[in-house]
Amino acid sequence: MSGIACSFGHYARAGTRAVPTSQRSELFGNQNVTPCNEDLVTFSENICEVLTTVCDRRSVHAYFDGGNDLDLTLWDRATELGWLGIGVSEEFGGLGLGPRGLDVLFRSLGQNVSPGPFCSTLVGAQWLSECTALDVAKQFVSAVVAGTLSLGIPVAPGGVSMKMQGGRITGESETLLIHPRTRLSILPVNNEGEAGFALVPVGAGDADLARIELWDRTNSIGRVKCRNVAPAAVIPDPRGRAVDLLRCYLALAVASDSVGGARAIADQTVAYLKLREQFGRPLASLQALKHRAADLYVAIVKAEQVLECAIDAADGDVASAGMWAALAKAAASEAYLSVADDCMQLHGGVGFTWEFDCHIYLKRALLNRQLAGDNRALRDLAAGQLTEATLAGITTAEFAA
């Protein structure tokens, strides 16, 4: 274990800032400096190491079959190790690594098809930290970092808003990405004519969460039915910036999860092809399968590179960040699905059994395709933004420094 993961561990376990700010900025840089790749790689390796132990194949399968509480175990471990503060800035007790830090975490979680409310919570927290008044943000974001609060968010930001009248919300929400135990959700509202979001307590008598069972059992969604519920906070969004940012962060998270998952199942498949013999030789020695394997990695690298552009843009806070995030999510989730699909095929018969991992990755890939919005809609959005920028004579293809 290198010093970095230990720092994280120690910092979180102590519950206070164990690593002095100066030392941490040396490690990860401040927001103006792109965090050094090596640090992020080490960080990522450490997360992987933990996930490989906690979230191993056997545990994931057992969770998939309802046989353990891996989601909760993982959440506790993530709290302990400080993962929950990776993106948000230091004033919330976070590490301030922003989109690049979140990418590292979501990629690892994707690699291990990990369950738990990570995506909705950390996307929601990142967004809250940037879109709400500091006192509101502090209250909720700090609780997320401390592991005592998880959040629900819309599956596809930009959908139908709930009506809010006289400070109260009534009605059924659109579909939310939300863990069954989550007690607070970000909901789009139309507050007497003004667009915005509300932070709504969930699970109390007047705001039931109706779960929807998914083919991908590593994720949870549902709808909230509100009867005259008073939100914990309201975030006005008259110009639609907040909804764009929420979609952007969610899209990035799904893209990271997708490339992580794609690489993991591809690696697993190549390993399987090396082991499995047919006609007296390993499948991996067959040229047609070699080319198929090569194509998997080409597809993954293509998606990873688009994602890289999108993270750069979000990290650099450039105007086209939302466009790139939308394109990255579309590219990554499609690559994930095509890779997972071909990996099931390349596994042959066993790949089609419940006991092998293929179907778990495939189902997660299928769900990812729908998260943050349908890919057609996301590309339409991107085309609209590209048009606007082009007409204004602004390029979207400049790299953020």
């Binding site: 929807i212 083919w215 040229q287 699909d341 419940w354 179907h359 729908q370 057609r376």
Partner: protein, 406 residues
């Protein structure tokens, strides 16, 4: 008309439906009204029932078909079949598809593989003993594939050792569909491990109630449990249950496998037609969002055209089979690759039209022919089993295009 009908009076099972067999148009009408009425009854009998009704419903359906002589419609009369002409078999399959009648998947092996094997290779005693049971609903399974012998079937290792009047079997079979329900199994074993792998294989009929047979269902990626592993420990099979000679099982098995290339696939192509037509009609009825997206409607008509082309190809295959045309060898490869990948594409397309809703898990109890996720995930059974599409490409390249082996 009735008087002219060839052999109409010969079979006691001749029914109102079968009596029309001489005139395709009349036959179609008769089948249509019978199947529609019967399937409606099916819905009454089984609607609302809980638990795994698959087996009951399959047996009920076989019994109903039997009542009108359609239990084994494509079999020769000598073995209790209706001996339908190819034309009538096509009509029957079309009408079954049209009415959405149950797919007789429980009986796939008994209806197709068993007769294709026994009629050619079985002893008279074997034919008399086993074939009549099929129409009465006796379920068979196939014990061919093994964990180390899938595409490379001939490398199978389940051992059969002669011991007096019987053979002792030890080994493990896998991907054996519905073996948990089966009374008999057509089994491939290795009797001589010291010769070229194809040369040491022997073919048996195994009673699934034999001591030493253990069936462990395997769960599929889509949650279903249609196939199983079969473990064989010192299972004793009498010599009279051997099909063909010792060590000549590989040749016998070729007859078995040829059963997979006929009317069976044809019917599933016909069903896909109705799935797509109903899907489109539903979309129009509900003014589905995706109809306003020309990228999607273009994709739909592209798939619709592929489906129609695939049905056309299946018709060609049936004609070629009937004429014993050598080109059937090529056609069946195209059918396999095209129909299985088409099913996957259609499943995926439908899934996308449902958006997030396509990801909601529904506990459907039917054979789930029209649930997009089931079509999509289930499609892998098609692209992998029965000679994976990769093997098919090898065969196409080497045997049809005559590209040299590497």
């Amino acid at each position: 008309m009735l008087g002219k009908m060839k052999g109409a009076a010969m079979s006691p099972a001749r029914s109102d439906v079968l009596e029309k067999a001489a005139d395709p148009a009349l036959f179609r009408t008769a089948v249509r009204s019978w199947v529609e009425a019967t399937v409606k009854a099916d819905r009454t009998v089984f609607s609302g029932r809980a638990g795994d009704i698959f087996y009951d419903r399959q047996q009920w359906w076989m019994a109903e078909r039997n009542k009108v002589g359609l239990g084994t419609p494509h079999w020769p009369e000598a073995y209790g079949g209706a001996d339908l002409s190819l034309k009538n078999q096509i009509i029957l399959a079309e009408e079954m598809a049209r009415a959405g009648a149950p797919v007789m998947s429980l009986f796939t092996v008994s209806l197709n593989h068993v007769p294709a094997t026994l009629i050619r290779w079985g002893t008279e005693e074997q034919k008399t003993r086993y074939l009549p049971g099929v129409a009465k609903g006796v379920v068979w399974c196939q014990g061919f594939s093994e964990p180390g012998a899938g595409s490379d079937l001939a490398s199978l290792r389940t051992r059969a050792v002669r011991d007096g009047d019987s053979y002792i079997i030890n080994g493990q079979k896998i991907w054996s569909s519905y073996s948990m329900f089966a009374e008999y199994c057509i089994l491939l074993t290795r009797t001589d491990p010291n010769v070229k792998k194809q040369a040491g294989i022997t073919y048996f009929i195994m009673d699934m109630k034999s001591k030493g047979v253990e069936v462990r269902p395997l769960r599929q990626a889509n949650g279903g449990a249609g196939f199983a592993e079969v473990f064989l420990t010192d299972v004793r099979i009498p010599v009279e249950n051997r099909v063909g000679k010792e060590n000549e099982g590989w040749t016998v098995a070729q007859s078995t496998l040829s059963a997979e290339r006929g009317i069976l696939v044809f019917e599933s192509g016909e069903r896909l037609r109705y799935v797509m037509e109903e899907f489109y009609a539903d979309a129009l009825r509900n003014a589905a969002d995706w109809l306003r997206d020309s990228e999607m409607t273009r994709e739909f008509v592209r798939l619709f055209a592929e489906m129609q082309g695939c049905r056309q190809l299946l018709r060609r295959l049936l004609r070629e089979n009937e004429a014993n045309a050598p080109s059937a060898f090529e056609t069946v490869i195209y059918v396999k690759i095209i129909s299985t990948t088409l099913r996957k594409k259609i499943g995926d397309f439908m899934l996308r039209t449902k958006g997030l809703g396509g990801q909601f898990h529904t506990q459907s109890f039917d054979e789930m022919t029209s649930d997009p996720m089931n079509i999509y995930i289930g499609s892998f059974a098609g692209t992998i089993a029965g000679g994976s599409n990769e093997i098919m490409r090898n065969v196409l390249a080497e045997k049809v295009l005559k590209m040299p082996r590497s």
